[in-house]
């Protein structure tokens, strides 16, 4: 009974196509139509500017806490662009760009960040779940959705997003395991942005990569330069193709960086150095992509200026629209909607109770 070795796929592939200097590996360049390349550029820029405007609004006290995406534009957009209308996107809470790409009205997102439940409603014509705050828990919903697709013999996929911290959660393990066991069309997109609030990636796991966790579940895993949209696009595209063919799930680790704070409620200076942030800023996904597009002769600085102006105007329109939506969403009694399909007798009573109280308060206020 000797000691023997079991042969395992112990190597993890890493993919990088467009490096931080904008240098391209032409042999790996994906075949993407020019207009789509430009559309992705516009979306990335729009995501960054929307973030900046949200931060501005938050600092003015006009909206509440939100989770910025700056620095992670390539990681989420390069993945989300592969989704068809019949696919499902299962986000965590740092995918505002992917959500907007999928058709989420930015005004509705603003409504949500301003504290109105109505803003959480996914758009009617998209199969997307609302954001999920408890870390990693949403990955299992993608598994259930994907099981439904398989059961109904569809070639659609479920794509779920999560961060490096989520890979420490039990639900992540259970989701990967279930998806592997049942060979389900789930695309696990890990936006490894290096920090789970103040805890660095090195304290989440002793594993050298997050991608290698796939090996334990018997499914493909790949690490990509998450600030390289061409690499993310390529790796996720391959995973989606496999899933549509019934070949099961894939884990894609996108190595990226959260340039801003975890949410507007924390101060990153408490836990990470400015030097580290500055090093990552040199790897900015938008800058290198612009270099690539300029080198291809698809984009000029003047074009960028024009796009920036358009985006600014669009965001302003969304802000104004959201303020109108807030005025229309003022009825506090709407808090009783959607607990169950129908109001229960007890909820009817409680709603009536609040209604009476509110009208009494209004009367008191009117009569001084």
């Amino acid at each position: 009974m000797p000691r023997t070795e079991i042969d395992l796929p112990c190597r993890v592939e890493r993919l990088s196509i467009l490096d931080e200097h904008g240098e391209l590996d032409q042999s790996l360049e994906p075949d993407i139509p020019d207009d789509f390349l430009l559309k992705m550029h516009r979306a990335m820029l729009s995501g960054r500017r929307f973030d900046e405007r949200l931060l501005n609004l938050q600092r003015q006290g006009r909206i509440g806490t939100f989770a910025p995406i700056s620095g992670q534009e390539a990681a989420q957009l390069g993945a989300a662009v592969h989704l068809r209308r019949d696919d499902w996107m299962v986000p965590c809470f740092r995918e505002s760009l992917a959500e907007t790409w999928r058709g989420k009205d930015p005004a509705s997102a603003l409504l949500y960040f301003a504290g109105y439940d109505e803003g959480g409603r996914p758009e009617d014509d998209r199969n997307d779940l609302p954001i999920a705050v408890p870390v990693g828990s949403q990955t299992l919903h993608a598994v259930g959705l994907a099981w439904g697709m398989k059961y109904r013999e569809k070639d659609s996929v479920a794509m779920t997003f999560f961060g490096d911290g989520a890979t420490s959660e039990g639900d992540f393990h259970e989701a990967m395991n279930f998806a592997g066991v049942f060979t389900l069309p789930v695309i696990f997109v890990c936006q490894n942005n290096q920090w789970a609030i103040s805890v660095p990636r090195s304290k989440q796991t002793r594993s050298k990569t997050l991608a290698q966790k796939a090996i334990a579940y018997g499914i493909p895993g790949i690490q990509v330069d998450g600030n390289d949209i061409l690499a993310v696009y390529t790796a996720v595209g391959e995973a989606v193709d496999r899933a549509r063919k019934g070949e099961g799930p894939t884990l894609i680790e996108c190595e990226t960086y959260r340039i801003m704070m975890h949410t507007t409620a924390d101060d990153p200076k408490r836990y990470r150095s400015e030097d580290e942030v500055n090093e990552w800023k040199k790897k900015d996904p938008i800058v290198r992509y612009q270099t690539y597009l300029k080198n291809k002769g698809l984009l000029t600085d003047k074009d960028i200026e024009g796009i920036e102006e358009e985006i600014k105007a669009e965001i302003q329109t969304a802000v104004e629209h959201s303020e109108k939506m807030m005025k229309d969403s003022g009825d506090p009694l709407d808090m009783f909607l959607h607990t169950f399909q129908e109001l229960t007798p007890a909820l009817e009573e409680q709603k009536e109770e609040l209604s009476r109280e509110l009208s009494e308060r209004r009367q008191e206020a009117d009569h001084g």
Partner: protein, 327 residues
């Protein structure tokens, strides 16, 4: 009509509902090849195949989280958690998602799933196999909490639960599983979620119980009739939440006295809520303080002592006599 125990009656509901609706999917640990550790899923994998009756990896959060995704997709998953003592592994999937997806999506999505799980003491089991924690789920806005007391009503309530548009936690009293048989008609029967029923009429005292506690409660009512000539009205709660208090209040307005029975721990248990509702809706009809006969505020002991923990007919009768003695 055939005489069935509760296991057979629940099994009948599963067979009939799965035949009728291909959206209904069973999943859980050992529900397929083993046909359930209590044999509740007998004959199902053979009839419907592994796509409809899924043996899952051993992971309760995974089972519930996956069920949520399936339900959002438009299916009607019924997941079995082998013992309610293991549902804490999936607590957050119920609290954070099953109960909230309708609200979070502002009505775009719903989670019409049923979580079936055996609960309660009385079968000489291991630790984590005997507790009664319905208050957790009843306290969670967005969940419905149902507990049948016998074979026929279990079958009816389960069919209603499967068809309900909201997530239903369906506690099966394992002490009742094979305790007795009832006539269960082959034809489909349903019973509305959210409605208690009066199972014995009386004018002197209202007794409210549910699940495995119905039998000792009815036994106590019978004893009180025989030995004291007292007419007890007994209400089987069936749905713990959302609680329909009107039939209880109506009964107390008639009797002026009430005893609440549950095997769950006393403090912050369902009895506390029921008594408060009586205070709100029938206080001026009360002729005596309301009593509750419950489990104690401890972890249920291992089986050598569980019979001393669980409320029985004698304890209920005694509490009832105390309530009746107040003039």
């Amino acid at each position: 009509m055939a005489k069935m125990n509760m296991v057979q009656a629940i099994n009948l509901a599963l067979h009939q509902e799965m035949e009728k609706d291909d959206r209904v999917i069973l999943l859980g640990e050992d529900v397929g090849r083993d046909e359930g550790v209590f044999r509740v899923t007998e004959g199902l994998v053979g009839k419907f195949g592994e796509n409809r009756v899924m043996d899952t990896p051993l992971a309760e959060s995974g089972i519930v989280g996956m069920s949520i995704g399936m339900a959002i997709y438009g299916l009607r998953p019924i997941c079995e958690i082998q013992f309610s003592g293991f549902t804490y592994e999936n607590f957050h999937q119920l609290e954070s998602h099953a109960a909230r997806i309708r609200r979070r999506s502002q009505g775009k999505y719903q989670v019409p799933m049923v979580l079936r799980t055996p609960y309660g003491g009385g079968v000489r089991a291991l630790e984590h196999h005997s507790e009664s924690r319905e208050a957790y789920w009843a306290h969670t806005p967005g969940l419905k909490m149902v507990i049948p007391s016998g074979p026929r009503i279990a079958r009816s309530l389960l069919i209603s639960a499967i068809r309900d548009p909201d997530p239903v936690i369906f506690y099966e009293p394992k002490a009742v599983y094979r305790a007795f048989r009832e006539e269960v008609p082959e034809e489909e029967e349903t019973f509305p979620i959210g409605k208690p029923r009066v199972v014995r009429e009386g004018k002197d005292l209202t007794m409210v119980a549910y699940g495995a506690m119905m039998r000792p409660t009815l036994e106590a009512a019978e004893q009180l009739k025989e030995s004291d000539g007292v007419e007890c009205e007994v209400i089987d709660l069936l749905t713990i939440s959302p609680l329909d208090d009107e039939p209880i209040a109506e009964s107390v307005r008639k009797t002026g006295r009430a005893v609440i029975v549950h095997e769950a721990p006393r403090s912050f248990g369902p009895g506390a809520e029921i008594i408060t509702r009586i205070m709100e809706k029938a206080f001026f009809y009360l002729e005596a303080p309301i009593a509750r006969v419950t489990g104690f505020d401890i972890v249920i002991p291992l089986f050598a002592r569980e019979n001393d923990y669980l409320p029985d007919a004698q304890r209920i009768t005694k509490a009832a006599r105390n309530v009746l003695s107040v003039k």
